[in-house]
């Protein structure tokens, strides 16, 4: 097993004495081509790792902004195979690429076949918001076979036993949710995130990245003080959802990404 691109990007940021910035966008919104371009814009403006969302009809960990984007992407005809295209596009920039997906589309595609295509596209692995390691036998095997990262989530409610077992099953990094809730901007990050990151560090040496509710440069900077990576989703997606036209969306997206990138670089 070799270090993934994502692992290397996280290590390089650490060598620079900073946290990495991870930006989420769903493939297929506002169009497949438009989403690929948007992901490139993230990288051009200082995002280190792109988390490529696979739109799903029943995204129960997502708030209204990402739900809206996912619904419109599905209405626009986005298909599972489009995440592999996005993976290739992001990989070509040299940035790290991960796919974030609910489990059923992978299950339907076949975990091993999905993993093979991910690896072929240069994607480092999967973030699985509704799959806990207890139910992940297929994915554990497929990710081993294709040398992919397994990013499971931990939450403020996770018991010590589950922090231990979940991090033991993880590869690449651990995704710590900053709060109890779904995706979407919040006015403050709160103390739960730093407490959770401290608990995770007691049981694993893997990098710990924090997401959920992080939307401003100040919040990014705050999280960057104690996490190895900061994950921003809804705030970026909102730029595209609110834009009157795709070009404006890309411009707003680039400006926000550049601003957030300052948060991990000061």
């Amino acid at each position: 097993m070799s270090a993934s691109t994502v692992s290397k990007v996280l290590a390089a940021a650490k060598d620079d004495g900073r946290a990495a910035l991870i930006g989420y966008l769903p493939v297929g919104f506002p169009s497949v081509e438009g989403s690929l371009r948007a992901m490139e814009v993230l990288v051009e403006n200082g995002v280190d790792i792109v988390e490529i969302g696979l739109p799903y009809t029943d995204p129960l960990m997502d708030g209204p902004v990402i739900q809206t984007a996912a619904t419109r992407a599905l209405e626009g005809g986005v298909r599972v195979a489009d995440v592999f295209r996005a993976g290739r596009a992001v990989s070509a920039t040299g940035a790290g690429a991960l796919v974030m997906t609910y489990w059923n589309p992978v299950l339907r595609y076949g975990a091993d076949r999905f993993a093979a295509e991910l690896a072929g596209a240069g994607v480092s692995g999967l973030i699985t918001p509704d799959l806990v390691p207890d139910e992940a036998q297929d994915w554990l095997e497929a990710s081993e076979a294709h040398d992919l990262d397994r990013v499971f989530l931990v939450a403020p409610s996770s018991t010590p036993e589950r922090l231990q077992s979940t991090t033991a099953a993880s590869r690449g990094f651990v995704y710590a949710t900053a709060l109890m809730g779904v995706t979407g901007a919040r006015t403050s990050v709160g103390s739960a995130a730093s407490v959770l990151v401290g608990r995770v560090r007691e049981v694993t040496d893997l990098p710990v990245c924090v997401g959920l509710g992080v939307s401003t440069r100040e919040q990014v900077a705050e999280v960057a003080r104690f996490a190895d990576g900061v994950i921003v989703g809804s705030a970026l997606v909102r730029c595209l959802v609110d834009a009157p036209d795709p070009d404006t969306g890309l411009k707003d997206l680039g400006a926000l990404a550049a601003d957030l990138a300052q948060g991990v670089r000061r």
Binding site: Y56, T57, D58, P59, L60, M61, G63, P64, Q67, T71, L74, R79, V80, W103, N104, P105, V106, L107, R108, Y109, P129, D130, L131, V132, D134, E135, F152, L153, V154, A155, P156, S157, S158, T159, R162, T166, T177, M180, G181, V182
Partner: protein, 402 residues
């Protein structure tokens, strides 16, 4: 392999949820496992059922309706006579008592037809719990009466505007609320699906339906029924009446699904007629209406309570091992059964339950005059008066179309 995993019925079930909810599911499992062996808890629930729900519910033989069922004898298990008008109260009272045991102060629920929402609002009022009910916008419109009932009972009803704006989207929204508020909130899931332990727990709270009915039929007819018919949305009333009969090999267990405008039309809620495949939805591995990409396909049924693209995992298991049979009933067939029961017996069934009656008409014709069919009349039709009146063209100004 499969039986070593937690909460499985064969391969089906499991716990496909965000990690944030796992601690709450484990807490729930611990409390309900203890409670189901605690005479104090069981005694309080039994007392509530006697003095509040109105249990045991009676059985009623319906000979005039049976004339349309090939002459077979037909007997109804009258869950429609329970307080709040359906079987849903059985599960809700159990979960509300558990909520109190867990020290939580707030309950949330999803609802399709509104029956589960009404039952949850009722139990919350009874036990002094705060209550929020999520309901798809489409359902709030077709079941407006139940929305008013929930609000009168002091619950907050939140219309859900995402996705298909029906039951599945209400479930998504309830899960989102639960992830954010799990510390003080219990999610009173209304059917036998969702992550473990919900399928087993909800079934166990409804099991009383079959336990009572089996004895009542034995007492009155001196034998077991040839078939038990129940409608299946998520499948709680069906699991409730089926479970006690599973070991009675001679008793056919027949689940009736929302056939909508016919399976061939694509507008239906029939998971078991070859349209659905095993997948994950709402925390369980079970049959799901889904496309080649694993995206959920929207279901359709005249009945809000059956309008659901997935089904409880234990039904998937019973289907695969051949212990239970499942058939679609179209909107037309269900409404004809609705009309027939109303006009031959003076009992207005819920449109959901009318699907089970249509199943009895079919199986009765197969069995003939020697047959005995038990039907779970899971709910009453008061909530459906508007829908049915429109269907039959009985509202003022509609007579022309009748």
């Amino acid at each position: 392999m499969s039986d070593t995993r937690i909460g499985r019925f064969g391969d089906y079930g499991g716990r496909y949820v965000p990690e944030a909810l796992v601690a709450a599911l484990e807490e729930l499992d611990e409390h309900r496992s203890k409670a189901m062996h605690d005479p104090g808890f069981l005694g309080e629930l039994a007392q509530l059922h006697r003095t509040y729900t109105g249990r045991p519910s009676i059985i009623t033989e319906v000979p005039r309706f049976a004339e349309h069922c090939g002459g077979a004898r037909v007997v109804l298990k009258r869950e429609d006579l329970n307080h709040t008008g359906s079987h849903k109260i059985n599960n809700v009272l159990g979960q509300a008592l558990l909520t109190r045991r867990m020290g939580k102060k707030r309950v949330i629920a999803e609802t399709g037809a509104g029956q589960h929402g009404v039952a949850t609002a009722t139990a919350a009022a009874l036990l002094g719990l705060e209550c929020v009910v999520y309901m798809g916008r489409v359902d709030t419109e077709r079941q407006a009466l139940n929305v008013a009932r929930m609000r009168l009972l002091g619950a907050e009803v939140v219309p859900v505007d995402h996705g298909s704006r029906t039951l599945k989207d209400a479930v998504n929204e309830a899960f989102r609320d639960w992830v954010a508020n799990v510390e003080d909130t219990h999610y009173v899931l209304g059917t036998v699906t969702g992550p473990y332990p919900f399928p087993e727990m909800v079934r166990d709270f409804h099991r009383i339906i079959g336990v009572e009915a089996r004895q009542q039929v034995l007492d009155q007819f001196g034998r077991l029924p040839d078939a038990v018919c129940a409608c299946v949305g998520g499948g709680s009333n069906a699991m409730g009446i089926f479970h006690r009969f599973v070991d009675d090999e001679g008793v056919r267990l027949i689940g009736l699904e929302g056939g909508g405008e016919g399976v061939a039309s694509g507008r239906h809620a029939s998971r078991f007629s070859g349209q659905a495949t095993p997948g994950v939805l709402h925390g369980a591995y079970t049959y799901v209406l889904q496309d080649d990409d694993g995206q959920t396909i929207e279901s359709h049924s005249v009945s809000a309570g059956l309008d659901y693209p997935s089904v409880g995992p234990e039904h998937s298991y019973l289907k695969d091992i051949g212990r239970a049979e499942y058939y679609p009933v179209t909107d037309d067939e269900a409404m004809e059964a609705f009309r027939l029961l109303s006009q031959t017996e003076g009992i207005l069934p819920a449109i959901e339950s009318a699907h089970a009656l249509a199943g009895a008409m079919r199986v009765g014709r197969e069995l003939g005059p020697d047959g005995l069919v038990l039907v779970n009349l899971s709910g009453r039709g008061d909530k459906d008066v508007d829908t049915a009146a429109r269907w039959f063209g009985l509202l003022p100004g509609q007579e022309d179309q009748a």
